[in-house]
């Protein structure tokens, strides 16, 4: 009885019309409420705020498109492009860097895999800010790197801090685990015998990679790419700390709108647009790469 009720709880969430009276629906009510309050309500609040008169805090005023007009009239598109470009670049760089490591974790390292995994996980226990400031101290003029080079060779190199490439570096550094682990999972899901079969059938290493390994590991790679892309679009500290604000990503514009500018409606409109852009991009990718079809499940 209880088991049956629990099983019916899931469809109840999707189609609340019919099983309103069922035990399952009542059981799932607290979770549904929590979801509604904790997840949907803030989202609705943000969307509602984006249609409020600029710089006002009154949700119940006449709706207006003024905030969106402001965004399209001004140069906010630059921030959007920067954010998307940085996120895309981060994904590409991470895919290239992580593939060999993921391959090693899935296939080569064997019992050393756990240790390597731990090495990649450990930094996650330290705040992102602290780690990035650590890099500043390492890379700053007279810091560990440049200071060390100067002391050893007498050559004074120009600092590379506070430049756009450093932002990508920071993002690659911070989001590496989010690409590495789904990718490792994806690669470990490729049966060893299937790659051996391809090799046995005459395929070169490159052909095995292209024809078999890559397509079969694709679900993991796509998940890693989506994860890092979404995180990358939401990145802000890297541009602030390592980039010295040499670039203003869209998240920074949103932060300014909510703080110094005290223009919550504008910030909300920027947020809504960002969610829209990212949502559409993610949907396109998911449509293009049907994970089930890749795996031959359909």
């Amino acid at each position: 009885m209880v088991a049956a009720a629990e099983r019916s709880a899931q469809p109840a969430a999707a189609t609340p019309a019919r099983p309103r009276s069922s035990l399952g629906f009542r059981y799932s009510l607290p979770v549904l409420l929590l979801l509604a309050v904790g997840f949907i309500a803030p989202l609705v609040a943000v969307i509602a705020f984006s249609f409020v008169e600029p710089r006002s805090f009154d949700l119940w005023s006449e709706p207006t498109l003024a905030n969106y007009r402001t965004i399209f009239e001004q140069t906010y598109y630059r921030s959007f492009l920067w954010s998307l470009a940085f996120a895309a670049l981060t994904v590409v760089v991470l895919a290239v860097i992580c593939y060999p490591v993921a391959y090693g974790l899935a296939r080569v390292f064997g019992r050393w895999s756990n240790l390597v995994t731990l090495l990649f996980v450990l930094p996650l226990f330290i705040s992102e800010n602290v780690r990035l400031y650590g890099w500043v101290l390492f890379l700053i003029k007279g810091g560990v790197l440049l200071g060390g080079v100067k002391a050893l060779t007498g050559i004074e190199l120009t600092s590379i801090l506070f430049t756009p490439p450093m932002i990508v570096f920071g993002m690659v550094y911070v989001y590496l685990p989010f690409m590495l682990f789904p990718m490792t999972l994806g690669l470990s899901m490729v049966p060893r015998e299937v790659t051996e079969a391809a090799f046995d059938l005459g395929a070169s290493r490159a052909q095995v990679f292209r024809e078999v390994e890559l397509p079969l590991a694709m679900p993991g790679i796509i998940i890693g790419a989506l994860l890092t892309f979404v995180l990358g679009v939401g990145a802000i500290v890297e541009a602030k700390v390592l980039g010295g604000q040499s670039v203003i990503p869209i998240t920074h514009d949103i932060e300014i709108a909510f703080t110094y500018a005290q223009n919550w409606p504008l910030g909300a409109a920027l947020s809504v647009l960002l969610m829209l852009v990212v949502g559409v991009l993610v949907l396109i990718v998911l449509k293009r790469f049907d994970l089930d079809r890749i795996l031959g499940r359909r």
Partner: protein, 356 residues
């Protein structure tokens, strides 16, 4: 025995070590062109490692592999004219039946039309409906997948096919059908097949010759008949299926003495100078006797239990601490009841003497 053919594959002192352990230990073997050769052995006997070395997926620690007289130790799998059919089949799950079969041809750079023609040819040979060409390999049945794996392996016309227990995960009835089919395909194609399995029964059905492996060593090589009738040792004889084994030592007058039973037994023809070994009697060679003189050797015991094994019935007879298995065809079922005193026996020619 397939005679008059030259060896296509020669294994010379082939050894593979994983750390301290020699998984394959100095194996010497000739595999003849066009034969169906099966390596049989329990798991861990090293048979898979031998096959993987032959296919080029593992490199030998020492020893040589010669293909038509040329050393191929260092030739990688993708450049050997051999192909493996895996236990898991290892089909490409993201590709269609057609794409799977044509994989090697596409890699080789064949044109689409000729690839397709070859795929259809193989599908016909393996009795796969042509309409399956565009289906995903995950949408067809286990037996059909088996045939796709075969077709894929045959596609580029390799000289030797390796089979890594491809039938072990399949239910009994389908396995029996596929065993016969495989043997038919072997006849039709005339290719050299090297097959590994842990089931001697499977090996018997299909093979021209069988090699039995144990703990990394090749214990005996011969035709199924030779292996069956002249097992080289107790291991091989036991590996053939359920057998009755009596430990014996040489006695006077060419007789044997079975210490455990305190009796002398008439021995089959054996080597002069035989000291100590095992007398092997197959369950179907043991008979129930009405009178002692009906067989050269005999024991008296108690009918302990009986089992129906399809077309045969197996009886267990207790003689002291030992249990003997006696088998009869079902239509000749033994009339005795459980706990009856019975006499069992056999003639010396129906037994096999293996040396220790």
């Amino acid at each position: 025995m397939v005679s008059g053919r030259f060896p296509i594959l020669e294994l010379r002192g082939l050894t593979k070590r994983f750390g301290e352990l020699a998984a394959v230990d100095a194996v010497d073997l000739d595999i003849l062109e066009g034969e169906f050769f099966t390596i049989v052995g329990p798991s861990g006997s090293g048979k898979t490692t031998v096959l993987r070395m032959l296919a080029g997926m593992e490199s030998p620690s020492s020893g040589d592999i010669l293909l038509k007289g040329e050393r191929i130790n260092d030739v990688p799998a993708n450049r050997r004219p051999t192909c493996m059919v895996f236990q898991s089949l290892a089909l490409f799950p993201h590709r269609t039946v057609g794409q799977n079969i044509e994989f090697a041809l596409k890699i080789r750079g064949d044109a689409a039309a000729s690839r397709r023609a070859r795929a259809f040819e193989l599908m016909d040979l393996l009795r796969l409906p042509r309409s399956y060409y565009k289906r995903g390999v995950t949408q067809i049945s286990g037996g059909e997948r088996q045939r796709v794996a075969l077709a894929r392996a045959f596609a580029y016309d390799p000289q030797i096919l390796f089979f890594d227990e491809p039938l072990s995960a399949i239910d009994y009835k389908l396995r029996k059908t596929l065993e016969k089919e495989l043997k038919d395909i072997h006849r039709e194609t005339g290719k050299t097949f090297v097959y590994i399995t842990h089931s001697l029964e499977e090996a018997m059905v299909m093979s021209d010759r069988i090699g039995v492996m144990r703990a990394g060593r090749l214990v005996q090589v011969g035709t199924p008949h030779e292996i069956y009738t002249e097992p080289r040792d107790k291991f091989v004889s036991e590996f053939m299926g359920e057998v009755n084994v009596i430990d014996v030592v040489a006695d006077a007058d060419g007789l044997l003495f079975a210490e455990a039973f305190g009796t002398r037994l008439t021995a089959p023809a054996h080597r002069r100078g035989f000291q100590k070994g095992h007398l092997v009697i197959r369950p179907e060679s043991l008979r129930f006797l009405e009178r002692p003189e009906q067989a050269e050797n005999r024991f008296e015991g108690t009918l302990y239990n009986e089992y129906v094994l399809g077309s045969r019935i197996q009886y267990q007879v207790r003689v002291g601490e030992h249990v003997f298995a006696v088998e009869r065809l079902r239509q000749h079922a033994f009339g005795g009841r459980l706990d009856d005193r019975v006499l069992i026996g056999w003639n010396a020619v129906d037994s096999i003497l293996v040396e220790e």
